[in-house]
């Protein structure tokens, strides 16, 4: 009786009797995020428990969201409960991966490192490994239903993702759950929806990319090209773009300034037909030897590194051309509104009770899971459309986030969520800039101009200085400013 599909070997580990020590450790993390509403302080500490996958060279792989804003990380042997402090070697919030190292390498002795299984395809069964409080293994098996490019929690670019159908059980350490195939690490849990029983996993190819990059002297991060695209299925759009030959490629809708594609000369309206030797079809897919059709962005995130050269074959006004792009990583600080800011204290400047900050998505996320609807909509708009609103790039949006009532701010108490344009007549494009401009009052007054009503706010410079200690005292502000 031949099965219709090739039967894979069982993904379950060998019976307990013959089993080696599991290649897992518990990871306990205590963290403390910064409070963006009171940027001089941290929020109450939290603790998270997770599992880490033991890798060669005495390192432990976890997801980055586990160690975000960590104060203290410790590893715990599952079978003995023995604990040791660990430090974060490398963290990549965009790919959601982090590498830990125990302060003493021999702590991991006896645990055989996990190898990576890079060949997972749709239809494979993977096992999610969790631990009982006793240290015994809990194994749940699920089916890989989709392999495609998806957004990760930080929403910076897209990464290869396995989507699985799996009925997971709750265990106290359900953060970084390893997904295993033939005793090899196939992925790490990215997110799980218990209602639909769908699990998204960071796949081994992304983990491999991360680990290879870690081997280099300076971790660079995943590369990006810096353009957006649209399918060319519409024959009218193809004809408008002057495309000749067989229908293929994607229409370039925007090119980010100062990014690799722009530097290589890519233009809006170009049609990108191939990357290297991989032809791109009308929807933006290429044929991957392992997965079949998948979006071409996988060629960049999974297969290339910052600094690599990439040949973009394009059509411009019907003429084929080739652009050689030198890839680079786009760091969070290269955005007008940085997409995330973790482990770093937020910058702020308090002036007589007015609190100035730089707009960041981390700040907007203080409004909780529904921040897109609940955060000040003007700021959400500025964040969302930052590339088209600020094509010159390279500057920050300084906001007056709130006002602490004080003698200096009488009558200003209700002002909040304003965009600062000028201080003392000087253009403002960063907090450092503002701090400098404040030092140059006009006839003894500090004049702040905002995009929105009230448009102008004035303070008396001498009074601000005189009352600064009292302000710090009454609101418990250790320092009135923190610039980068």
């Amino acid at each position: 009786m031949a099965p219709v599909f090739a039967k894979k070997e069982p993904a379950l580990p060998a019976p307990a009797g013959v089993q080696k020590q599991l290649s897992l450790v518990r990871v306990n993390v205590t963290g403390q995020p910064y409070d963006y509403f009171r940027p001089w302080q941290k929020k109450a500490p939290f603790s998270k428990r997770a599992l880490g996958a033991v890798l060669p060279q005495g390192r432990v792989l976890v997801t980055a969201d586990l160690v975000a804003n960590e104060n203290y990380v410790e590893l715990e042997r599952a079978e003995s409960g023995e604990k040791i402090a660990a430090k974060v070697e490398v963290v990549d919030y965009e790919a959601n991966l982090a590498l830990l190292e125990p302060v003493e390498k021999k702590f991991l002795d006896g645990l055989s490192p996990l190898e990576l299984a890079l060949d997972t395809v749709v239809g494979d069964r993977l096992s999610a490994w969790q631990l009982e409080p006793t240290g015994a293994l809990v194994v749940t098996e699920g089916l890989v239903t989709t392999v495609q490019m998806m957004h990760y929690p930080m929403d910076v670019g897209q990464f290869l993702t396995y989507r699985m159908s799996i009925a997971m059980q709750y265990r106290e350490n359900s953060y970084t759950v390893p997904l295993v195939k033939n005793n090899k690490l196939a992925g790490l849990l990215l997110r799980y929806d218990s209602r639909s029983q769908l699990l998204d996993a960071i796949p081994a190819p992304v983990i491999t990319h991360f680990l290879k990059d870690v081997q280099t002297e300076h971790y660079r991060g995943f590369p990006s090209v810096g353009f957006s695209f649209f399918p060319t299925r519409d024959p009218q759009l193809r004809s408008f773009a002057g495309e000749t030959g067989k229908p293929a490629g994607v229409y370039v809708t925007s090119v980010e300034p100062n990014m690799p594609a722009a530097k290589a000369g890519l233009q809006v309206g170009d049609i990108v037909t191939a990357i290297g030797n991989n032809e791109i079809d009308q929807t933006g897919n290429y044929v991957d030897p392992l997965y079949g059709k998948i979006e071409f962005t996988n060629l960049i995130t999974s297969h290339t590194y910052a600094g690599d050269a990439l040949a973009l074959k394009i059509q411009r006004d019907g003429k084929p051309m080739q652009l050689n792009v030198t890839l680079d990583h786009r760091s969070a600080q290269d955005y007008v509104v940085p997409p995330y800011n973790l482990d770093q204290p937020p910058a702020y400047y308090v002036l007589g009770g007015l609190i100035f900050q730089e707009l960041s998505r981390q700040y907007l996320k203080e409004w909780g899971g529904n921040w897109l609807r609940e955060a000040p909509q003007r700021f959400v708009y500025l964040d969302h459309f930052q590339s088209e609103l600020f094509p010159e790039g390279r500057h920050r949006i300084v906001i007056l986030s709130q006002v602490l009532p004080a003698n200096n701010t009488i009558g200003y108490e209700d002002f909040a969520y304003l965009t600062v344009t000028k201080v003392n007549g000087r253009e403002i494009n960063s907090l450092g800039n503002l701090a400098e401009a404040v030092q140059h009052p006009i006839n003894g007054f500090i004049k702040i101009e905002t995009e929105e009503d009230p448009k102008q706010i004035e303070l008396e410079a001498a009074q601000v200085a005189a009352e600064a200690p009292a302000l710090q005292e009454s609101y418990g502000i250790p320092s009135l400013q923190r610039l980068e």
Binding site: S228, F230, P231, R233, D234, P235, Q236, L237, S239, F240, Y251, T253, S254, Q377, R378, V380, Y381, H384, F385, S387, E388, N408, T409, I410, G411, Y412, F445, K447, E452, D453, P454, K455, Q456, I457, E458, L459, E460, Q463
Partner: protein, 530 residues
């Protein structure tokens, strides 16, 4: 003119819809209305004996019950007449053979009848004047004897806080007139939810008013001191009902004296209080608690080119403006725009201002300000739209937002900041591709839905008329640039023309465009007879 969303129900609808395909506010109370009847089946509803002391006289002689059949425009299928609904409201006779009621009672009406106590007839009525910005309307009946035995009611002033008032109307719970009594709880500015953009004086009363009370008089000492019009639904707050007070009513009656309702005028500025000592010193103002700072001057408003950002308003028509933005009017402290609130189109207002540390006097001729209107509900107009190649283009306004509930950040931004960021200067109509009627010629265009039209073939498109005119031409192709980053939308006019009848037939598109907000119906006077 601030926009705020509050959960206010309008009292008109009482759940008698002939056509239930539209979602309408559910009948108001979830709990049964306490009945006056004993629980045993009574033989009949015995008419309430009406003899006891009645401070307001025999209101039946002045009150009418208005039954309205309305067609609510369908912004998702704007070529249709809209869902037919029926509702009941109240009205009362005033001088000049006129009946006063709420605008929302007669909005979008297709057919209007009134009934009165002790008369078996239904009389056809017509709308004379409707003021959607203050929720008032006047209707009349042309049947010759209708007003003969009716007593016109007179208007009083603003009632005292805590004084007793009675509200009359036809709320749910029975067919005949209902009276409830309460006291005056609060006198303040309120958002009038009928337009949902206008705020005027409103008086809160504790008398129970329910759907069907709308348009009914609220009386004290035999005089009308308000028209019941809105309240909170029971799950938000109980016993909070509002009436339109007589200053608003008198303004309406005066505005229409020339045979046309112009509506409220507005300075179209925003301002900020001037309570900060440092700011006052910076501006060179005296420490006398006077003045407000002008922060935005709307270019389409009457103050454009007269006032500037940074001016300080010191007095309006010689009423000193305090630094908290209040003026004293007839012994009451009110926000200074109230001075303008009482004026009419083309009236002048004198402003004493402080500019560059110098006093100045300017005069402003007041006018209505159109850009605000897209942020309020519209009535008695047909939706404007253009269908081209199965693509439905509609100008952005509150009714469109309500119909489609878009989550698109750009659409929401253009709506919210239409006036404040003066988007209307470049895009008097913000034309949204709201929907696509699928056809082979547009099958790849779904991703363009929700886009806002910027240019066609390199030409800026400012209004729906310009869009329609451009689409009436036949270039080789139309390249529609939408606002923001994204691919252009490319259409071939020959293909569109070939698909035209097919799309019209398949989707029953009765008309491919409506460019003007013409009134939904103009009723000739001679149709008044039954």
């Amino acid at each position: 003119m601030k926009r705020a969303i509050i959960f206010v129900w309008l009292l008109l609808l009482c759940g008698r819809h002939l056509d239930a395909q539209q979602d309408t506010p559910p009948p108001f109370p979830t709990q049964p209305i306490p009945s006056a009847k004993p629980s045993a089946p009574a033989p009949a509803v015995v008419p309430v004996p009406v003899t006891p002391p009645r401070p307001n006289g025999k209101i039946q002689n002045s009150l009418v019950r208005i039954t309205v059949t309305e067609a609510e425009p369908d912004y998702k299928a704007p070529w249709n007449a809209g869902a037919i609904q029926r509702g009941v409201g109240a009205g009362f006779v005033i001088d000049g053979s006129r009946i006063m009621t709420n605008a929302h009672v007669v909005s979008n009406s297709r057919y209007l009848t009134v009934e009165r106590d002790g008369d078996p007839n239904k009389y056809r009525a017509t709308v004379q004047f409707v003021a959607h910005d203050c929720d008032l309307a006047l209707i009349t009946v042309s049947a010759p004897d209708f007003f003969k035995n009716m007593t016109p009611l007179k208007f009083g002033g603003i009632p005292e806080l805590e004084s007793t008032v009675s509200a009359y109307g036809y709320p749910i719970g029975g067919e005949r007139m209902s009276v409830t009594a309460g006291i005056v709880s609060r006198i303040d500015f309120q958002l009038y939810t009928h337009s949902s953009i206008d705020s005027h004086l409103a008086i809160q009363i504790s008398a129970q008013i329910n759907p069907g009370n709308s348009g009914g008089p609220v009386m004290q000492n035999g005089k009308v001191i308000g028209v019941a019009f809105q309240g909170y639904s029971g799950d938000v707050a109980q016993g909070v009902a509002y009436m339109v007070p007589t200053p608003v009513i008198r303004r309406f009656l005066k505005d229409i004296e020339d045979g046309h309702y112009n509506g409220y005028v507005d300075l179209a500025i925003s301002y900020s209080k001037l309570q900060n000592p440092a700011q006052r010193k910076f501006l060179g103002l005296k420490d006398d608690d006077r003045g407000v700072l002008v922060t935005t001057v709307v270019a389409a408003g009457p103050c454009a080119k007269i006032l500037r950002e940074g001016d300080v308003l010191l007095a309006m028509d010689d009423h000193p403006i305090a630094s908290d933005s209040n003026v004293e009017l007839e012994g009451e402290r009110v926000e200074f725009p109230e001075v303008v609130e009482r004026k009419f189109k083309s009236d002048k207002v004198k402003l004493n201002i402080w500019r560059d540390k110098q006093p100045m006097t300017v005069n402003v001729e007041l006018n209505t300000v159109w850009p605000y209107r897209i942020q309020g509900h519209r009535y008695d107009v047909r939706p404007r739209y253009v269908v081209y190649g199965g693509l439905l283009f509609q100008p952005l306004n509150l009714d469109l937002i309500d119909a489609y509930q878009p989550t698109d950040l750009r659409i929401r931004h253009f709506f919210d900041y239409f006036v404040v960021e003066q988007i209307y200067l470049e895009h008097p109509d913000v034309i949204v591709l709201t929907n696509i009627l699928p056809d082979p010629i547009n099958t790849y265009l779904a991703a363009y839905r929700g886009g806002i039209v910027d240019e066609i073939n390199g030409k800026k498109i400012r209004t729906l008329e310009e869009l329609a005119k451009t689409f009436s031409e036949t270039p080789d192709r139309f390249v529609v640039k939408l606002i923001g980053e994204g691919p252009p939308l490319v259409l071939d006019p020959k293909q569109v023309e070939a698909a035209r009848e097919r799309i019209k037939t398949r989707y029953n598109v009765l008309r491919e465009q409506n460019l003007e907000e013409q009134a939904a119906e103009k009723t000739p006077q001679d149709q008044n007879k039954i």
